[in-house]
Every structure is written in C-alpha cells, then in structure tokens.
Amino acid sequence: MTMTPRRRRMVLVGLILLGVSGAAAFALTAFQDNLLYYYPPSDIAAGKAPADRVFRLGGMVEEGSVKRDTGSMEVRFVVTDYQKDVTVSYSGVLPDLFRDGQGVIARGQLRADGVFVAHEVLAKHDENYMPPQVAESLRKQHQQKAPAATPST
C-alpha cells in the first residue's frame, strides 16, 4: 500500500501519541509507590509504611475518639479506615472542618509505641455538596435505619 504524505503524517501523530502515553503509563505504574500521597491505617498495620521517615497518614477521625488536654494544644484522636486504627498525637491548630467522622490527612512520623506523631493535620472533604436541610434529613434517615449509629455532634 502506498502512503500519501498526509496519511504518513497521520500515522506519525498516532505513533507519537501511542509512544508517549505508553511511556507515561509505564512510568506512573513503576513509581506507583513513590506517588502514594498517603497511607491508610491498614497499610501501617501491614508494615508497608516507612518506619524511619516522615510520611502521611489518611483516614477518618473515629467518632468520639478526640481527646484534648486541658491547658495545652495537645490533642489525641484515632484515625481509622474501618479496618485498622492508628492513634494520632498532634499539637497545633486543627482545620475548621476537623471533627468526628471527618476525613483527615496527617503528616508526621510513627513512634516506636505505634502512636503517630503528626506535625500537620489537614482536613479532606468529600465530593458531596448539599444544603444543610438535605444533610439533616439524610442523617435522620440513616439513624432510623441504624439506631445503634454513633451520635454526631
């Protein structure tokens, strides 16, 4: 089959795209571990998180687990992914969205006793947006279905 110059250029553009996306896919898969932005508590329990350096821990603040020291900025709470838990100790200002059941990302180091000492705590909100009334009625429905649900503040 003879190729017109136009067809040849078309194939060339196609090959460039194919090559570059292939290379990008390989690179991203190869560096998957380094691209990991945070570790869930399960990974820490499985020993996948680095023990000797600073990393990020991500998960939900367990309901009712937040304990503040009176007279200091020290706060302790449990981060969970509903499979495993990690206790976090942090001293500093928490973001406004920080509360029970909220997604958080903490940057810090794992101490020998298994407590995660955070230098920074960020709040992660989800992709759901709704008016307060809708959220309230959703919460009520949820409670009716599961009366044992933990009370929210």
């Binding site: 932005y37 973001p95 406004d96 969205l97 960020l122 992660k124 992709e127 947006y129 008016p131």
Partner: protein, 245 residues
Amino acid sequence: MWLWFHKLSSPPYAYRMATLLRPWFFWTALALIVFAAYGGLVLAPPDYQQKDAFRIIYVHAPAAIMSLQVYVVMAIAAAVGVIWRIKLAHAVAAACAPVGAAFTVVALATGSIYGKPMWGTWWEWDPRITSELIQLFLYLGYMALRASFDDTQRADRASAILAIVGVVNVPIVKYSVVWWNSLHQAPTISKIGKPSIELSMAWPLYTMLLGFMLYFAAVLCDRVRSEILRRERNANWLVETVKTS
C-alpha cells in the same frame, strides 16, 4: 462537510466568521457568567459542611475544567495543522495557549485560596495539584517554544509536536483523584452517573461552565483574528478587507 472544512480553513473566510461570531459569543457568555455568579453567590444554599466557603467552586471547577478542555482543543488543532498542513489550524492552536494558561492560573489560585480554610494549607504536593501545575508548565512551555522561532512555519511545526505530546497530561489531571490517594476530593460533576451535588447548587455551576466555554470561544475569535492579521499581513484580501471596514 469537506467543502465546509476547506472553506473554513481559508483565512479570509475564517477572519469574516470570527468577526461575525465574536459578539454573539461574548455577550451570551457575559450574560451567563453574571447570571451564574448571582445564582452561585446568592440563590444557592450554603453547603452543610463547608458553609459559604464552598461557593468558590463556581469559579474554581469551571476554570479547572476549561484548563483541560482548552488544551484538548489546542492539541487537536495542532494535529490537524500537522496532518493536513493547514496554517489556520496552527493559528488556532497558537491562539489557544495563553487562554488555557490563564484558566489554569485561575484554577490553581482559587484552589489555593479554597485550600487554606478547608484543608488547612495553601499548597500540597497532592497528585491533582501537582499534575495541574504541570499543565500550566505545558502551556508556558508551548508559548516559550513558539516565541523562540522567528519563522512562523517552523514555530508551528515544532510547537505542534509539543502540544500533541502534552495531551497525555490531560487524562492524568482528570483521573489523578481516582487513580491515587489524594487530598483533593473525587469528581463531583464530571463523572459517569448522578452528580454528587444538589440541583439547587449545581445549576449555577453548569451555567458558569457554559459561560466560560462561550467566553473562551469569544476570546479565541479575537486571538485567531489577530493571528491571521499577523500571518497574512502582506495578503491582498486583507488590504481590501481593512479598507472596506
């Protein structure tokens, strides 16, 4: 279809079309943006969790979506320019870059302003934020590469390759929040299935996005016109057009 394609690729016709369409795009865009801003800032209810601060998505999300869409338009125009050797397509690609870069800057800046009160940080090396920053560098790199050539045709060809190569970053930005753990939340509207936002809060978002698209179209008309003026400055038709108008 092919006839129309050829007709459109002729600079005099494209110049006239751009002049004709520009005011329609611009005024519709302005009306939509003003309407959407009123809807987003006044009519939409506050979010149950983020309260009034969530309203920045009415600028942030459309700008971020546009930062990717403009790039796709630019890459397609560049590919058409390379394959069919259409100069006008290269002109369109060149016209896209600064607009796309501006949308990217708006997305990054509003995201940063949003991040401080909500997440607790101005900047994080999160997959979504980092890939969006790369998106900005792709636009800037494209513009810098173009600027480094004196010869327009050589600039067209070299920058087109960069535009085509760079398009791989678009799916990376889009799916970064799905593929990796990230601080940024998952997609709200640009996903398959039901959007995760109440209609009363969603309509200003869609309206704003449409407004941004039409605004882009209007600016593109302007920029393509000035590209044509620069490229065809010695052409007879241009002298005639400028004389009569």
